[in-house]
Symmetry: C3
């Protein structure tokens, strides 16, 4: 499988790589070390010594350098050899590195042409900064399914009415009017359900409970699969204003063609105490780990080595956004591989 | 590996799918749901929603319909869409189905051309109906070996003298005169050993114990691998008539090229009490699970990805039936794939 | 992967196959039974009955014959059929055998052309015979890495300074002058470090501890991967003679392209008591199992299905011997496959 290279892949949440720390992560088939030096500067290196190809992550990574476990060759965190006990330092003794940057509590790597790497093209997730820590939850799950199947799942949120009836569902998304907008940078899908059932997860943070209202949802997608969700409700005719807004960030990062790093985040505009935040974390994790994950993995298993599109799925209007996003991504990948 | 499609595959024993029940079974590479509606009518459907290809078996299957877990699309048990919450019901929203029928306490599916499916071509196993429940045992085992290796095993029962010396063996089959008969529908192999050692499993249900007699065995085979065994003994010169007849049904259904659903059944003409039946069940299971299964799986492992016939096995006269059955099956498969 | 056939593969240590005993071992993709008859004569047979290809090792191997578990066909330990209960003994009923010989406490098999098998070409390991049992240790480990990666590891012993700093390392090998000599039969790499740190494992058996001295190491390699190591130290200016010599035998035998039978042996010229020998055994096993093995397996995993040489490793002078050995072996394999 060919992956898009000229794009930002979320490699880790900021908190996962403290000053002086590092982690290993395979992205789009490449084994990577994501490290942060003592001055806080990030780097992303291929986790493979250029001499014998052993993983550098088996060696010592500290004091802003990496010493290979096998023959003691040392590298700085930019991948430049700084000590070769066995002879001259040559250009062959360089560890390939990748552009890395940090934005919105996340670390992003660019696997393609470094000249094209513009951090400004990372989706604007600055909303995260406006919320207190106790109104946010960060998550990660490894999913044994292709990242595009995971992306399709969010680009058609009508599935929540069936797969998550007790939390995110309720029928409003299915009944909603759906629209898709495209710009050169992004694709946005919106659902608006007037005077409909407010999903339990929103209803719980409304002023009045169990009353109908208007439900609005949007998903903004950027290639390859970074998504920002807004999931809210409003009762425009209530005696007192009664609104709720929640947000989700879902980023699917391919490990290989059948497994995915799935990063997710949720935030909301009220109920900012730590106990409630913990309840939200549990509900979100339950929906994701016990409902989405097994279904996505069963879907992948049912495809086997077959390609989803080649098997000619029955297309419905609810697939409008995912079909367009797949087409855009395919065009981008083809443009790179010419 | 190419499998025969225009044939009856045993999918389940009747008792495995009660009214309103269903089970999942992969046959010849295809994931299937075998379901029985509230009126008792059977159906066999591909276990794959035509929309997103998730397994339908993850959804709700009750009240004679299947509701997909992912987007709530509903199908009747014939595979016709009966509800699409997301738009029109189109012909694309059809779950492929297969001809299914029930005979002789078993459910049979036909994966090929429906027009050719004739239940009359299922082997006559009506003998099962003439025996009380306590003279019969039904079994199933998943074998990690190709179904043809499993079939060869029964088509040459001389192996019992070596692999099952304490139950089915004793040497008579090896010493017996063997013959093979073929008709357009079936192949039958027979062994007759005069005045020989009666195998322990037969001797135990004879009037006198430990005395020699005539042992007769036959295996009737129909493609792809449905077999009926008769295994009996007689002492024609005994003071009082002293005979024993037992029967076995062995059906090997390919899951893929290296694993097999193995259905087996045994019956006998006497000793019809439940306690003895349980003893027979234990003996049969022991022989099959502890003797045949490990050997067949070691044989498969030794072949690796190699094809048994291509490796040029040394052919003996005892392989007469299995060689002919393989040849017939090969011809049938080739005729389908032209 | 193509393996060299006209060569001696170490199949087992002598002690592993007692009189009347046998073992199973897969070498270069071939499943083998190594057996020793009641007169002490060795044989090596393909572990596959010529009739149905089941493993002969599942049958009875005793009294100098093998009886197949499946149909009772019997073979002598040369692979000749000696009993066929089902008909004539034909030449097809022969188990392929391989030339096998025993030298230097080890059993060696030759998978290629029997006419070319000359035991004199086995590396001279007669040194083993000059040492008492309590100055020797025999080992075996299964490594999930290609045998050439394992061989490279010994052909560049500078790795000990980094991977085994507390036992075999200390820096002397890295600082040493290295030379490589080639003859038609063998390749030898030598390291000599004058007035350097004596590695802990040698220092422990010197007269004085913690003093510098001359460290000398040599590895003699013969294709495909049989190696004899001499690892010693000398203090030429000491008041009393203060020398230590140790030897190692390392033999890497391919199972398949990603796993290896790794046989190892160590010996030394002093400290010949059993307790000290046990300490050496523990130290060696620790270095091998906890340091070399995980590194070699991580190296293999990092290569995936890639070929080490095709990935263009950065070559250092320390790789001189391994590059030459790989080139020699490649030439030999190509000569066989023409």
């Amino acid at each position: 499988m060919t992956f898009l290279l000229n794009c930002w892949y979320l490699a880790a949440w900021t908190a996962d790589v403290p000053v002086g720390g590092h982690l290993f992560r395979r992205i789009a088939g490449k084994p990577l070390i994501i490290a942060r030096d003592s001055a806080g500067l990030l780097s992303a290196l291929l986790d493979r010594c250029p001499h014998r190809f052993v993983p550098l992550s088996r060696g010592q990574i500290r004091d802003d350098k990496i010493v290979c476990a096998y023959h003691g060759i040392a590298f700085d965190l930019k991948g430049r050899c700084i000590a070769n006990p066995h002879g001259a330092i040559t250009s062959a003794l360089t560890v390939p590195g990748f552009v890395v940057t940090e934005r919105h509590h996340a670390i992003w790597v660019w696997l393609g042409d470094a000249d094209k790497a513009d951090p400004a093209s990372i989706m604007d997730l600055s909303l995260m900064d406006s919320l207190p820590d106790t109104a946010q939850n960060f998550g990660y799950e490894l999913i044994q399914a292709n990242y595009q199947l995971c992306a399709d799942n969010i680009l058609d949120l009508s599935h929540a009415d069936y797969l998550h009836p007790d939390s995110l569902g309720g029928g409003a998304t299915t009944r909603a009017k759906q629209s898709v907008e495209e710009t050169p940078e992004a694709l946005t899908v919106k659902w608006l359900a007037k005077d409909d059932v407010i999903p339990p997860a929103l209803d719980g943070i409304m002023r009045e409970k169990g009353q109908p209202g208007d439900v609005h949802i949007s998903v903004r997608w950027q290639a390859p699969s970074v998504m920002m969700i807004n999931f809210g409700a409003d009762r425009p005719h209530a005696a007192e204003p009664d609104r709720a807004e929640t947000w989700g960030i879902h980023v699917m990062v391919p490990i290989d063609d059948k497994s995915t790093h799935y990063f997710f985040w949720t935030g909301r505009d009220k109920f900012w105490d730590a106990d409630f935040n913990e309840l939200v974390r549990q509900m979100t994790t339950n929906a994701f780990v016990n409902e989405d994950k097994p279904l996505l993995e069963a879907q992948q298993a049912n495809l086997g080595d077959g390609n989803f599109e080649d098997l000619q799925p029955a297309l419905l209007t609810i697939d409008n956004a995912s079909v367009r996003a797949r087409r855009r991504l395919k065009t981008m990948i083809e443009a790179e591989t010419v």
